[in-house]
C-alpha cells in the first residue's frame, strides 16, 4: 500500500486503508469497491466478495451503530453452512461412486479371467483398462478419505500426501490413455490392416502404463516449484492443465480415430465384408459412446453457471460423470457384452443342469436346452462381437463346439 502510486485522478476519493483484514485501495467517492474475501478464517469462502463503500464526501462508510469505518464481510460466511452441507453430499456421492466402480470392475475382471474362451487381444486390452480404473478408484478413495476430509493432514502437509497426489494424477492419465489404446487397436484392426492377424501389444502397454508418467512428473515438478500449496490440493491453478491437456489431446485423437473407423465401416466395407462390418459396427458403437461420456467432463468443466441452483445441478452432474465412470465402463464393456452374457447364461444353465442331474438323470434334455435358450434369450441389442473375427478366421480354436454353433446362430439370426 505504501509503495503504490499516489492517487492521480481528479475528484474526491477515500484514502487507501487497512481495515484489519484486508487492504483497500484509493477509491473514488460515491463508489462501492469489492475484493475477494480473505481465506484466513475457516468459515470464510474466498470466492465470495467483500465490499467497502466510499461515500460522496470522500470518507469511508461508517457503521451507524458504532460510528466506526466498516467493511462489509457479511457475504463471506453467509452461505457457508449450506455450501458445507452440499460439499459433504458430493463427497459421500464420490465415495459411493468409486466403491461401486471398484466392485463392478472386480466382478468384470473375474468374469474375464474365469471364462478363458472369451479371451483375445481386445479382451486383454479391456482387462488392462479395468485394472487401471480399479487402481484409480482405489487411489481416489484413499485420497478422499485420508487427505480431503482430514484438515490436520492438510495443515501438516507431509510429503506423503504430495506423493499420493502424484500417483493420483498418474492413474488418471492411465485411464484415459488405455481408452486411447483401445481406440488405436480398433483403428489398426479395421482401417489399417483389415481384420488381419494379431498385433504386438508391447507398444500399447508402453502407451497405457508407461507414458502417463510423463505428464504426472512434469506436473509434480511444476507444482513443487511454482505453486507448492499444502498437499497440492488447490484446483485454482492452471498448472493442472499439464495433466489435463494431454488427457484431452488423447480423447480428441481417440474420437478422431473412432469417427474414421465408422467412416470406413460405413463406406468401404459395407459391400465387401458385410457380416464383419456389422459386427465391428456394434463393437465400435460401445467405444464411440464411451469416449464422449468420459471426455465431456473436461469440456464443460470450466463453465460453472453463476446461478445458485444451476450451479448445484452442475456440481451433481459433474460428480456423477467423474466418479461413476468405472461403473459405466464395466457395464458397457462387460455386462452389456453379448458374448459375456451368453457365456454366463451357459454357465448358469450348466450349473442348474448339473444340480438337476443329481436329482434325475436326463442327459438328452441338456443339448436341446442350450441352443434353444441361447438363441432366444440373447438380447438383440448387443454391443461387442469383437473377438468374432478371430473366430471366423480360424485363429482361435474354440474348445466348445456349442460355442461355435452359438456364434453362427447369432450371426445369421
Amino acid at each position: 500500500m505504501n509503495r503504490d502510486q499516489p492517487y492521480n485522478k481528479s475528484g474526491l476519493y477515500c484514502n487507501r486503508t487497512w481495515d484489519g483484514w484486508l487492504c483497500w485501495d484509493d477509491t473514488p467517492a460515491g463508489t462501492v469497491t469489492w475484493q475477494n474475501c480473505p481465506n484466513y478464517f475457516r468459515d470464510f469462502d474466498s470466492t465470495e466478495k467483500a465490499t467497502k463503500t466510499c461515500s460522496e464526501s470522500g470518507q469511508w462508510f461508517r457503521h451507524p451503530d458504532s460510528n466506526r469505518t466498516w467493511s462489509n464481510y457479511t457475504l463471506c460466511n453467509f452461505h457457508t453452512t449450506g455450501k458445507l452441507k452440499m460439499a459433504y453430499i458430493l463427497y459421500y456421492m464420490a465415495i459411493v461412486g468409486h466403491a461401486l466402480s471398484i466392485a463392478s470392475l472386480l466382478i468384470s475382471l473375474a468374469i474375464f479371467f474365469y471364462f478363458r474362451n472369451l479371451s483375445c487381444q481386445r479382451i486383454t486390452l479391456h482387462k488392462n483398462l479395468f485394472v487401471s480404473y480399479v487402481l484409480n478408484s482405489a487411489l481416489t478413495l484413499i485420497y478422499l478419505i485420508a487427505v480431503v476430509n482430514n484438515t490436520d493432514v492438510v495443515e501438516r502437509n507431509p510429503v506423503g500426501c504430495k506423493v499420493l497426489h502424484f500417483f493420483h494424477m498418474y492413474m488418471l492419465g492411465c485411464n484415459y490413455f488405455w481408452m486411447l489404446c483401445e481406440g488405436i487397436y480398433l483403428h489398426t484392426l479395421i482401417v489399417v490392416a483389415v481384420f488381419a492377424e494379431e498385433q504386438h501389444l508391447h507398444w500399447y502397454y508402453l502407451l497405457g502404463w508407461g507414458f502417463p508418467l510423463v505428464p504426472a512428473s512434469i506436473h509434480a515438478v511444476a507444482r513443487k516449484k511454482y505453486f507448492d500449496d499444502n498437499c497440492w490440493m488447490s484446483v485454482e491453478t492452471h498448472l493442472l492443465y499439464v495433466v489435463h491437456g494431454p488427457i484431452m489431446a488423447a480423447l480428441l485423437v481417440n474420437l478422431f480415430f473412432l469417427l474414421n473407423i465408422v467412416r470406413v465401416l460405413v463406406t468401404k466395407l459395407r459391400d465387401t465384408h458385410r457380416a464383419e462390418s456389422n459386427m465391428y459396427m456394434k463393437a465400435v458403437r460401445a467405444t464411440l459412446i464411451l469416449v464422449p461420456l468420459l471426455g465431456i467432463q473436461f469440456v464443460i468443466f470450466p463453465w460453472r453457471p453463476e446461478n445458485r441452483l444451476a450451479g448445484e445441478v452442475y456440481d451433481y452432474i459433474m460428480h456423477i460423470l467423474m466418479h461413476y465412470q468405472g461403473l459405466l465402463v464395466a457395464t458397457i464393456f462387460c455386462f452389456f457384452n453379448g458374448e459375456v452374457q451368453a457365456a454366463l447364461k451357459r454357465q448358469w444353465i450348466q450349473y442348474k443342469a448339473q444340480w438337476g442331474q443329481r436329482r434325475r438323470d436326463h442327459c438328452s434334455m441338456r443339448s436341446t436346452s442350450y441352443t434353444a435358450t441361447s438363441i432366444t434369450e440373447v438380447p438383440a441389442f448387443m454391443y461387442h462381437h469383437e473377438c468374432n473375427s478371430e473366430h471366423l478366421n480360424g485363429r482361435h480354436t474354440s474348445e466348445d463346439s456349442e460355442l461355435v454353433a452359438l456364434k453362427t446362430g447369432e450371426m445369421y439370426a
Binding site: 504386438h200 507448492d228 498448472l239 491437456g245
Partner: protein
C-alpha cells in the same frame, strides 16, 4: 481471559515491567491488575509479558486517542522490537518466524484497548501497525501469502510440451502397430 471490571479507585501508577520478574513481583507492581482479573492469564516463559500494563488511572475520561497511542508505543513495541532484533534481519519477511512476536504484539494492543475501554481495532492501532510494517516489512515480496500461477511464458511450455509429446507418442504407437501387421 478474566473479566475486566471498570477501573477502580485505586491509584496505581504506570510502571514499566522489567525482564525476569516473577509472578509475585509482577503482582506487587500491578496490584490493580491482580485484583481485577479472576484468573490471571498464564504467561509464556514464566514471567508476564512486559506489555501487560495496568491502566489504572483515576482519570476516567476515555483517553482512546493520544493516551492509547502512547500506551501501545511504550508497552507493546518494546518487546516486539527486542524479539525482532533477536531474529536475523533476513528472516523478517519469513512469516513462520515472525508470526509469534507479531501475534503477541496484536494481543498486547488488544488487551490495552480492552483495559482502556476503547474499541479495537481503531485508527491509532491501524497507524501503529502501518508504522511497524513500514519499518520491518517494507521490502517483503508483494505476493505474500497468496500463491499465484507462474507467468505465461513459463506456464505455456509446461502445458504445450506434454501435449505435443502425447501426440508424438500416439503417432509412434500407431506407426509401430501398423508395421507389425503380418507378423504373428
Amino acid at each position: 481471559m478474566g473479566s475486566f471490571r471498570p477501573r477502580s479507585e485505586h491509584n496505581c501508577t504506570l510502571a514499566k515491567p522489567t525482564k525476569n520478574e516473577g509472578r509475585g513481583a509482577y503482582n506487587a507492581k500491578f496490584p490493580c491488575l491482580a485484583n481485577h482479573l479472576d484468573h490471571p492469564p498464564r504467561w509464556r516463559r514464566g514471567f508476564p509479558p512486559r506489555a501487560i500494563v495496568e491502566a489504572c488511572q483515576s482519570v476516567s475520561v476515555m483517553a482512546c486517542g493520544g493516551t492509547y497511542e502512547y500506551a501501545i508505543e511504550e508497552f507493546c513495541l518494546g518487546k516486539f522490537r527486542l524479539d525482532m532484533e533477536e531474529l536475523d534481519q533476513h528472516h523478517w519477511c519469513s512469516w513462520e518466524d515472525t508470526v509469534e512476536p507479531y501475534g503477541e504484539l496484536t494481543n498486547c494492543t488488544y488487551l490495552i484497548a480492552l483495559k482502556m475501554d476503547c474499541f479495537w481495532p481503531n485508527r491509532q492501532v491501524d497507524e501503529f501497525f502501518i508504522r511497524i510494517h513500514k519499518h520491518y516489512f517494507h521490502d517483503c515480496s508483494l505476493s505474500g501469502r497468496q500463491l499465484r500461477d507462474p507467468p505465461n511464458h513459463i506456464l505455456g511450455p509446461f502445458i504445450v510440451v506434454p501435449i505435443l509429446v502425447t501426440l508424438l507418442m500416439t503417432a509412434l504407437v500407431v506407426w509401430r502397430s501398423k508395421r507389425s501387421e503380418g507378423i504373428v
